[in-house]
């Protein structure tokens, strides 16, 4: 009786002192235990994707015959490249990999497929549709910061989320505006500009991001840990004067 108690105590102590659960590599996981975290962005000519694989205990990584393929709906053939984040270098005792998979294509396509290819020719296809492309317009000539500065872009009434971000080395505070619907325009007002009073010429960089909810993950996969970010992004700069 005493030996059983001691054994139980040892097992309990080991269990309490054990390492955090480490997710197994993808080849050891059934399809419905894998979920994908996806960020897809396009500037109208270049599409970039970042994908992470998740298991219920954390981030996992591709192994065996598993691969991620990406591309326009007609041709999802680019194999994504593994990218190790800095976080992995600080993990000494854990086997968990903080890997992501990245790809980049020169394309103006808006419809994309992401394929998780598995052993036996299994292909699990997720589809993503970017928001409509748009052009961003900013002042062509230097503009005075003492006046209203107009910025405009092609509005999309179906856009899920539109955000404006203005940054500059001379701005003490970025201007960030999130819109409930896509207004297609914004006026930068003098009261928006946190600057040192003696600031002379200064270049502002404007980024407009438009998000989409048109996604469909392969039904065989586990639900994604968070909604994917599917965005059209446009960036433009303009010069301001006092």
């Amino acid at each position: 009786m005493r030996r059983l108690g001691l054994a139980a105590l040892i097992v309990f102590a080991v269990a309490c002192d054990s390492e955090p659960a480490v997710p197994p590599p993808s080849s050891k996981l059934p399809t419905d235990a894998i979920s994908l975290g996806v960020e897809l962005r396009s500037n109208g000519g270049l599409a970039q994707i970042v994908v992470m694989l998740f298991h219920e205990t954390g981030v996992t990584f591709l192994s065996g015959e598993d691969a991620l393929l990406f591309g326009p709906a007609s041709d999802p053939s680019q194999r994504l490249t593994r990218f190790e984040s800095e976080r992995t270098h600080y993990i000494e005792d854990q086997d968990e990999n903080q890997s992501s998979y990245v790809g980049q294509l020169a394309t103006d396509a808006v419809d994309f497929e992401l394929v998780l290819a598995r052993r036996g020719g299994v292909r699990l296809v997720s589809t993503f549709t970017l928001p409509a492309p748009f052009a961003l317009s900013v002042p062509a000539a230097p503009v005075s910061r003492a006046q209203i500065i107009p910025i405009s872009w092609d509005a999309d009434s179906g856009a899920r989320q539109t955000q404006l971000d203005i940054a500059s080395p001379c701005l003490l505070q970025r201007i960030v505006r999130s819109f409930e619907f896509d207004p297609g325009a914004y006026e930068v007002q003098p009261a928006d500009l946190f600057l040192d009073e003696d600031t002379m010429d200064c270049t502002f960089q404007v980024m407009v991001t438009r998000g989409s909810a048109a996604t469909a993950f392969a039904p065989e996969l586990a639900p994604p840990p968070s909604p994917p970010r599917i965005e059209q992004v446009r960036v433009a700069g303009f010069v301001t004067v006092p």
């Binding site: 819109f179 409930e180 619907f181 207004p183 006026e187 009261a191």
Partner: protein
Amino acid sequence: MVDSGSHDARSVQRMRVLSILCATASALAGCASLPDSTEVATRDMSISMDAADDGAGAEVKVRISSGPGAVQLTSTDSIRLTAAGTVWSLEAREEGDDLVYVAEIGPVSGDLEIDLERRHDQSAHAVATMPPPFTLTAQGPSATQPLAILWDVGSGDYVVSLAIAGDCIGSLERTLAKDTGAYHVQLAELRHKSPSAPATCPLQLTLTRETVTQVPLIPPPREEGWFTASTTQRRTIAVDWQP
């Protein structure tokens, strides 16, 4: 004003220890009685002032404390407020467990001067500046027009901030970089609380000018004690939101 050179150093030190012990004991024991100011050295005092004008004149509240607890002015110590050249007496008022000295001084801008006059220790003089008053108006938003906000342009070392609230939207709060007297907010920036929230609702618009002051109660080179002040001009109006 008492010349600090004439003080008995040991007497001051005793007062200091006693004041800290009294304040601590009061705070710990939750005693209703507050330490007398005569037991507290000026160097150990903190005076805080809140002056707020919501358009109907300013109310000024002054608190005197030492360590963790409030101090009650007694005997030979007194405090007065001077605003726009007029001297105002401050009325002692209990607010819960706190003791504040209050004056209703009407519309005012410019310097608010606090004078702590003491017979047995160094007196103190501190100044905070009330931002200028203003009138606030707005044109409500519609499907084709932004929320257009107008107020009297002012100047001074204060911060301007804007707040928009309504039952159907999440509140929008924004600090403005400068006091321009005009600002507009796009309809798309007013985010509804939920998809089921009404499309429009009455809005409450608040514009605030605020200064925050923090200086030693005893000026350099000694730099002892603290004077902190918040002075606010705030206007709030209702704005219709047209469909």
